[in-house]
Amino acid sequence: MAKIPVLQNILEANEAIAGQVRQRLERAGIIAYNFIGAPGAGKTSLLEQTLPRLRDRLPAAVIEADCATARDAERIKAFGVEVVQINTGSGCHVPAHLVLLALDSLPLERIRLLAIENVGNLICPAELDIGESGKIAVISVTEGDDKPQKYPMLFRQCCAVVLNKVDLIPHTDFRRERFENDLRAVNAGVPLFGISCRTGEGVDAWVEWLIGQTARE
């Protein structure tokens, strides 16, 4: 019997491809955000609120990932933005190689921001690097105020948190202070944007932050 030392990251194959994605995006001067959240948190709604506010300020494109259908891509297309749909079948996250393929279909020379909407799931997408510049956690009031410590991989790694459906807070047991304490315990300095995609509340502050990030690049 022989012990063969390996010492390799189990997700190494994916990470090598993520490195290729990152290199292509950096070379093209594109900042890419990976939007991660549960189904129904409002990831597509957030993009629908965000894209019109970016018009004439920041040329953007979108990669939409879902298990099935092109419904989200259809919603985004209505804003006149380039969009590529990835269908993952029963796969619960976007692997880096599908993002690499999708890049071939996007006019990289014309865009500055790439928004990648991951499959609705708080766990696996947080595990897999897809070559993004940063992860955006999208969570909604109706999911409860205890999620950051339940899903620490995402909330620890993300560079911003968008809390959607704040207009519903008065109708739920959600306590914003409890949510913020939970979040701060996992990621003390992360910017938090409380918004409502339904009323538009708070969306401007989020968009200004987003534009500020690309300006810094």
């Binding site: 019997m1 022989a2 012990k3 063969i4 030392p5 390996v6 010492l7 390799q8 990251n9 189990i10 997700l11 190494e12 194959a13 994916n14 092109a70 891509a73 259809e74 297309k77 380039e82 969009v83 590529v84 749909q85 990835i86 269908n87 993952t88 079948g89 029963s90 796969g91 619960c92 996250h93 692997p95 599908l98 393929l101 999708a102 279909s105 799931n121 766990i123 696996c124 595990e127 897999l128 410590q149 899903y151 620490p152 991989m153 620890r156 701060r184 315990a185 996992v186 990621n187 003390a188 300095g189």
Partner: protein, 142 residues
């Protein structure tokens, strides 16, 4: 403008039931097979993996996923040894080092949230135990 679609093909159906651990099990089997190919004729007895506490992996589910992902591969029937790596961080304020069970990144000594993670996000194949085949004497492992 039309919408271009890409679809994931390989492994899509099997991964439906317990996705999180299964995706990891699949990648793990691929890595073990790579090791096995370097030692023709060998039998894989076991594999040792280190999994950090932040990964929220349930060892039994990973073992179950591994069993299924390994079927018909060089890793079939191999034992999976899972080493737990605790969540550890150092406080940048008071320099204290802490080990925590839950993912709470607040220094227990001074309460600061300005901490640097030292461990906890590991997801690593450490080693593979193989038994050499009769016709493949490896000089490194006699």
């Amino acid at each position: 403008m039309f919408i271009r679609a890409f679809r994931r093909v390989a492994g899509a159906d099997r991964s439906a039931a317990f996705m999180h651990e299964y995706a990891i099990a699949e990648a793990l089997v691929e890595q073990i097979e790579r090791v096995a190919r370097e030692h023709p004729g060998c039998t894989v007895r076991s594999a040792v993996v280190a999994i950090g506490g932040l990964r929220r992996i349930v060892p039994d589910i990973l073992r179950f996923g591994f069993e299924i992902a390994a079927a018909d591969s060089a890793a079939a029937g191999a034992d999976l040894v899972i080493e737990h790596v605790p969540i550890r961080f150092r406080c940048n304020g008071c320099n204290a080092e802490s080990v925590v069970d839950e993912a709470i990144y607040l220094c227990p000594a001074c309460g600061s949230g300005d901490v640097t993670a030292l461990s906890g996000d590991e997801l690593m194949l450490k080693s593979v135990d193989i038994e050499d085949g009769q016709d493949s004497g490896s000089p490194e492992h006699p």
